[in-house]
Amino acid sequence: MADYSIKDKVAVVGLGESTYYKRAQAPVSEFQLALEAILKAVDDAGLKVTDLDGFASYANDRNEAARLATALGLPHYAWASMVFGGGGGGGSGAVAQGAAAVAAGYAKYVVVYRALAQGQFGRFGQAAPSKNIRGPAAYVHPYGLFVPAQWVALRVRRFMHEHGMTQDALAAVVLADYFHAQRNPRAVMYGRPLTREQYDKSRWIVEPFHLYDCCMENDGAAALILTTPERARDLKQKPVLVMAAAQGASARAAASAENDPHYPSSHFTTLAPRLFETAGIKPKDIDVVQIYEHFSGAVPISLVEHGLCKPDEIADLCTFENLTAPNGKLPLNTSGGNIAECYMHGLELVNEAVRQCRGTSTSQVPDAKIALVASGPMVSPVSDLIVHG
């Protein structure tokens, strides 16, 4: 079994999304959003709902497999898995688990999903009030260090100090996201273009992050369906194959009180080599990238850790021209991503990677064959996915 790999054993056959809303704007419950996304993915694939027999999610999704299977009246289900960790680091990892289940024969049609209505439940960007705090949080909360924007900024600032990365690289990521969102009617920021001047003038959240460097807060759901390439042949869509997937993190990445030894890191350093080895390709073979941007500054660091540029090449690579479809050198987040399509906790990035390989993106990269997704930088575990058409 030493030579076994997931490469080309599993196909993505269906994609679905609920309508994407600004936070607290969804007129229906989070659970209904999840159901809507799943039903759309089933329809996109040309399956019957009762074909579904597996569920994979991440970030402690509230909409549990058992409730979904019951609500959908499935005759049975054969797989349910959840990636550890509360952040977006599990996005590609949930695909990896679902794919593993399909490839191993545990289940035939696994739906990977994420539903999140930050208007109906807690907000990620706000501290929950409490009088006392214990454990790792006790070393940071009393000093006003509460939320991801702040601890990501600490890492990005150290990276900027060590490598000379400037605000221009962050702005390029944000402007590319907004540019792509203007062509994507699903995007929450569709019809809301952004200029560099508006970016520069927007308020600081935490330096170096302006308001626009931060992902949105949204209500919505996304889903995709996995099965074997053999079963995929009878379905509606051109199958897109899982080329490689990986999850994990570098040594002691979760050490508390900011004690991660590889501090100014997105945590992909140990995943990326495994990922490319499984895929049997080099970083330069990637046609389009979907890199999780909870905060813009993590993106260039993630590009470096996937071998797409060196730290001193960030300024050259991370420009608006290079990061935008159709003609950029490395089109990034072609749906608008977490910053301008929808903060679907990064699952929208997986769906967009599949669309690029189908040739159906609203910002299609000509002849895109291979797409990379990097999920949830700077948490542990993080995860990666490569798909190809």
């Binding site: 960007g125 706000q126 501290a127 009030p129 409490s130 009088k131 006392n132 705090i133 214990r134 454990g135 790792p136 949080a137 006790a138 070393y139 940071v140 909360h141 009393p142 000093y143 006003g144 260090l145 509460f146 939320v147 924007a149 702040q150 900024a153 600490l154 890492r155 600032r157 150290r158 100090h161 308020r203 600081w204 959240i205 935490v206 330096e207 002691r252 050490a255 508390s256 009180a257 900011e258 004690n259 501090y263």
Partner: protein, 146 residues
């Protein structure tokens, strides 16, 4: 820090309490005495922070607490402008610092950086620990060394 204020940040933020399993009781007891302690393996002398029940280096369960000087290096810092907790509504901007402790295996600790939050302080500059006593617990803050 304004002169008429005894704390860097306003009151009303969560107060630290020891973990229920006793893992960091000694850490918070020591700050109360104005001592800065870092967990250290009694077997291989590896420092680790936050504390854990096992040494990540040699896997010994025999861990103790070592008093350090409180001298550190400003490893990273951010200026925070958006209040995410009600107590911080009128406290922005403020600076959160990550400090490395060279005499404790370069473990890091978090605190606020005392002084004008609008000034820039060079990375890797020297800082020292200052103890900030609150009714429930004593926090560690950091002050640049002149």
């Amino acid at each position: 820090m304004a002169e008429n204020q005894s704390y860097y940040l306003p009151e009303g933020l969560p107060a630290p309490a020891g973990q229920r399993d006793g893992l960091d009781t000694e850490f918070w007891a020591a700050t109360r005495r104005h001592e800065l302690k870092v967990q250290r393996c009694n077997k291989c002398a590896t420092f680790q922070f936050g504390p854990e029940w096992i040494c990540h280096k040699c896997h010994s369960f025999d861990l103790g607490w070592h008093t350090v000087s409180g001298r550190g290096r400003l490893y990273s810092w951010v200026r925070i402008w958006n209040p995410v907790h009600p107590a911080l509504k009128d406290a922005c901007p403020y600076i959160v610092a990550v400090v490395e402790l060279p005499d404790a295996g370069n473990v890091r600790m978090v605190g606020n950086l005392i002084g004008d939050p609008k000034r820039d302080v060079p990375f890797d500059s020297e800082v020292e620990a200052v103890f900030e006593d609150h009714p429930e617990a004593t926090l560690i803050q950091w002050k640049p060394v002149k």
